[in-house]
């Protein structure tokens, strides 16, 4: 039993690693093209690919919400803003970005140096530490007596309760055996998924940064209007 589980875990890991490899490769190639291509619109579209790939990485890491936010904000808004900017300033086809040789070598040197130092530090510090995907959905559950008739069918089926067995109470041990999508339908269950945790963190622990960011956005909005508006 244990070995089977382990095997499954390994398989799972392999699938994830393959996915990671594909995403990372796409991402790096696109990023490289983005910083080297001469065409501004192409660069923006490569950036789209990089951002989409990083959204995929977020989902791979179990942060769906950040991934969706990434798509919504970056691809839906920021890139469109970029494309607007490009088209409003220099919407011409073909290459228009001639980079001096000197600058290019300088940039490459700095970038390489940076990467080498960071890579050294990272490998030195974190070595081969694994990300363990623990229990992503901590669940608050308060057992309460409930009429079996009112229980949703999947809950009854999973726990072998018949519809006419009167008042029942589902213990925490029973509850723990259920699948997540069934769990959230048990009366008295509070499923605290990733979203709920993020919301809790933002609106209690990090309420001040949150308010600061909202003020910042407002300031940026006004600032952008003031700067860009014609007299």
């Amino acid at each position: 039993m244990t070995s089977a589980l382990l095997l499954a875990q390994v398989e799972f890991d392999v699938a994830q690693n393959i996915a990671f490899a594909i995403i990372a490769a796409i991402m790096l190639i696109s990023a490289f093209k983005m910083v080297t291509t001469g065409n501004v619109v192409h660069a923006a579209l490569y950036l789209v690919i990089v951002l989409a790939a990083s959204a995929a990485i977020f989902i791979l890491l179990g942060s769906d919400f950040v991934g969706a936010t990434q798509v919504l904000v970056y691809i839906g808004a920021i890139i469109v803003l970029f494309l607007f900017g490009i088209m409003l300033t220099k919407a011409q086809l073909g290459d228009d970005d001639s980079v001096e040789k000197e600058q290019r070598s300088m940039g490459a040197l700095v970038g390489l140096l940076l990467f080498v130092v960071m890579a050294f530090a990272l490998i030195d510090t974190f070595g081969t530490q694994e990300i363990e995907f623990g229990n992503p959905e901590p669940i608050a559950y308060v057992a309460e007596p409930v009429d079996a008739n009112d229980l949703p069918t999947p809950v009854r089926e999973a726990l072998n309760i018949s519809a006419n067995s009167g008042t029942v109470e589902i213990s925490e041990a029973q509850f723990a055996t259920l699948l997540p999508e069934v769990q959230r339908r048990v009366p008295g269950a509070e499923v605290r998924g990733n979203n709920a945790q993020i919301a809790d963190a933002i609106f209690s622990q990090y309420i001040i940064p949150f308010e600061a960011v909202s003020v910042l956005l407002l300031a940026a909005l006004i600032g952008a209007v003031v700067v860009a508006r014609k007299e």
Partner: protein, 776 residues
């Protein structure tokens, strides 16, 4: 998680037993706050311009405050019943065990109170306790049940420190609730007539509501941070209301002055709060700070510095010398606002702050057993200084303003000498007669359209009998004539100084100087009020037109206030003064207002002395007697005989005696403090100091540079002719070329291209990081 904790704390904070009115006092400040927004939003569209919303809100708040007071009295009585032995222990220590207190006060007083906490904790009948929240935060420290009703709400958590808001209801705050809402209600009613037809009528009422609300929040503050917020809100509202008629320059200047002067004190408050926060181990909780201060957990030095900083705040807010100058100028606002500011809200905030954080001052200044300390000095100087200035003012409101400063001096003095109850009692009584006086002066000004007593008033008693009567009653109360409210409170303060061995009781020290200053102040008070009454109501009318009595909405508040001014003092009769069925009325005020809890120091209470009362009354009546002789007999007689409209004797002391003249001029110019601020300090920075710096720069520094330049020129010439020309020209040329080339290379770095700079920055940071990683 934090949210769960917050919910628990929320629930815990409301499981406190107690009367509904005591637990829900937050409604009282909420009502005027809501009314502020309602008036701003819909006031203009209402038939009465929003005034009805304000009156309804403050009226409801007043009712709630009365209920809260009744509930509080009930609460105290019950508390006493259940913990009778413990309380009598305290009372004993207050009244009988004088010597023990005098000798090693801290230990004894604290021991007594801590006994209370233990017993009540054991019986589990305590209706109030510090919230579970605090305990959760402090990790299992024992809680000190207090006799205050506390509600807490976690505002936010930052850096692991919970910021609490809530209400702290005990004697002083419940008393202030009553005073603030009552005066505010009367001022609201009065204002509907007084500012009727004003272009910013709605705006005025909106801010009146906010003003009341912020003061109520202040008196109910649970934490120093909350108090700071309310304190600032009060300041902002006073700014708006003082500058209500901002179209005229003096008014907006006065508002600005009030605001800026208060800023000085606000810095003090902020520093004080920070000192207390850190020295109390990271808490803003007022009760906790007080407890720690009393238990000796906070170092004496920290408390002293905190007390000094807070004293600055009190000086600015409560108009103590030398930061009082804004207060008379603040008369530029509408008169009802002045009444509100001076009687119930703004200026009493400072006094209340001291009373609220009294252990900080008590320990910090070492109030018990000493004979001099910061608060007492400032208070006594203010009492006399402001009383003298009040004597030479021509503007009736300015007389009252300086009178307020003087009376606030009494309160601060009382706090400084350890007569806490006396200070709050005086605050209580003063609120009524000072509000009555201000509203009365407003009524007069309403009739004659001026505040100048010498030019536009006189003989008004014939035209405005009701105003005259109420003004007279309030003046008598202010002067402290037996048996008006002012007599009882002033007398208690004087007794509290414990000076001269006359009925010293168990006062906290021997403040002889303060007693003398207080007596002088009492005489002065009577004198300047006599002068003001003569100039306003007696003699011949000197203004224009036909003055007429004000309407009922102005007169009824005056009548109510004068009743309170007459009888308000009866709530705190000294022990032994009456007997029989009325005996429970003795020291009612003391009993209900002074906190009897672990967060309040065990202060001694002086036993009142008939001798002192008689002496004080005699000295206090000497002032008015002299003034009466001068104005009512000499001036009035001269005026009648010559038929002139005189306000002073043409050949009086001031015109004959040089010393008196200079003293008069000094008072007229308010001790030149405004000159000091405007002409000396500001001008010094602008003028001489700047010039001096310029001179220094021009003559001294430039001289050095010039000399150095000349010397080097000469040396250079010498070197040029002797060494250079012959010897090292080649070398120099070589080095010149070298530096030229070097400059050329370095110049390339200075391209003005952002990205090159960025590249250098990144490269340097990376190299540094690399070095850090490899070698550290």
């Amino acid at each position: 998680m934090y949210s769960v904790l917050a919910v628990e704390a929320f629930e815990a904070s409301f499981t406190t037993e107690g009367n509904w009115f005591l637990k829900n006092v937050w409604l009282i400040p909420l009502l005027p706050a809501v009314s502020f927004f309602l008036i701003l939003g819909f006031g203009k569209k209402m038939p009465k311009g929003g005034a009805e919303i304000g009156i309804a809100a403050i009226g409801a708040a007043f009712l709630l405050a009365i209920f809260a007071n009744v509930a509080w009295i009930d609460h105290r009585d019950n508390f006493d019943g259940e913990t009778q032995s413990a309380i009598t222990g305290i009372v004993d220590s207050h009244s009988e065990d004088e010597n023990a207190l005098g000798d090693n006060t801290d230990a004894n007083a604290l021991g007594a109170t801590i006994d209370v906490t233990d017993e009540t904790g054991a019986t589990e009948t305590v209706d109030v306790e510090l919230t579970a929240f605090v305990e959760a935060g402090e990790g299992g420290e024992e809680s000190h049940p207090a006799i205050a009703v506390v509600t807490s709400q976690e505002w936010l958590v930052n850096g692991g420190i919970p910021f609490l808001v809530g209400t702290l209801l005990d004697g002083p705050s419940v008393m202030m609730l009553f005073v603030v809402t009552m005066i505010s209600l009367l001022v609201h009613i009065y204002s509907t007539d007084y500012v009727a037809g004003d272009s910013r009528f709605t705006h005025y009422f909106a801010f009146l509501s906010l003003f009341s609300s912020s003061m109520l929040i202040f008196v109910l503050s649970r934490s120093t941070l909350q108090a700071l917020v309310a304190w600032e809100l009060v300041g902002v509202c006073s700014f708006v209301l003082i500058g209500h008629w901002w179209e005229e320059k003096p008014n907006s200047d006065a508002a600005m002055k009030a605001f800026l002067t208060n800023r000085v004190g606000d810095v003090g408050l902020l520093i004080g709060i920070i000192i207390l926060f850190f020295s109390a181990g990271g808490t803003f909780d007022i009760i906790r700070i007080n407890e720690l201060a009393l238990a000796g957990e906070i170092s004496q030095t920290a408390l002293t510095w905190a007390a000094i900083s807070l004293t600055a705040a009190v000086m600015s807010k409560s108009g103590q010398f030398i930061l009082h100058t804004w207060l008379p100028d603040a008369m530029a606002g509408p008169t009802p606002v002045s009444a509100l500011i001076h009687a119930a809200t703004l200026v009493t905030a400072g006094v209340f702050l001291v009373g609220r954080l009294y252990p900080v001052f008590f320990i910090g200044y070492g109030i018990d057993g000493s004979s001099i300390n910061g608060l007492a000095i400032i208070g006594s100087i203010t009492v006399v200084g402001a009383g003298l200035v009040a004597f030479v003012q021509d503007d009736i409101k300015k007389v009252l303003a300086y009178s307020t400063v003087s009376q606030l001096g009494y309160m601060v003095l009382a706090l400084g000498v350890g007569a806490w109850t006396a200070a709050f009692f005086h605050l209580f009584t003063h609120a009524f007669f000072k509000a009555g006086l201000f509203l009365g002066s407003g009524s007069v000004a309403h009739a004659v359209h001026s505040f100048d007593m010498k030019k536009d008033m006189g003989g008004l008693r014939k035209y405005m009998p009701t105003t005259h009567k109420t003004f007279l009653i309030c003046s008598v109360a202010l002067a402290g004539v037996f048996p008006t409210a002012g007599f009882w409170s002033k007398d208690e303060i004087l007794v509290g100084t414990g000076g001269l061995g006359v009925g010293s009781g168990s006062a906290n020290g021997s403040y002889h100087l303060m007693l003398i200053m207080g007596l002088v102040g009492a005489a002065l008070t009577g004198a300047y009020m006599t002068r003001a009454i003569y100039l306003t109501f007696y003699g011949e009318f000197r203004g224009h037109g036909e003055p007429h009595e004000s309407g009922p909405r102005i007169l009824w508040p005056l009548r109510i206030l004068s009743v309170f001014a007459l009888f308000g003092g009866l709530v705190n009769l000294p022990p032994g003064f009456i007997t029989g069925s009325l005996e429970p009325w003795q020291e009612r005020f003391f009993h209900f207002v002074e906190p009897a809890a672990a967060y309040f120091p065990g202060i001694g209470h002086a036993v009142p002395s008939y001798w002192l009362a008689v002496i004080a009354s005699v000295i206090g009546l000497m002032g008015p007697a002299v003034a009466y002789w001068y104005y009512f007999i000499k001036v009035d007689g001269l005026a009648k005989s010559t038929g002139q409209k005189l306000t002073e004797l043409p050949d009086g002391l001031v015109s004959n005696n040089k010393l008196a003249a200079s003293g008069h001029a000094m008072l007229k110019n308010k001790y030149y403090l405004d000159h000091l601020y405007n002409d000396v300090i500001v001008a010094a920075v602008k003028g001489p100091i700047a010039k001096l710096a310029y001179r220094f720069n021009q003559h001294f520094l430039d001289e050095i540079v010039d000399t150095a330049g000349r010397t080097s020129v000469k040396t250079g010439q010498t070197i040029y002719s002797v060494i250079d020309q012959g010897l090292i020209e080649g070398t120099v040329n070589g080095s010149g070329k070298l530096s030229n080339r070097g400059g050329g290379i370095l110049r390339k770095i200075q391209t003005g291209k952002i990205q090159q700079y960025a590249a250098l920055l990144f490269a340097a940071a990376t190299v540094l990081a690399g070095i850090f990683i490899v070698f550290v």
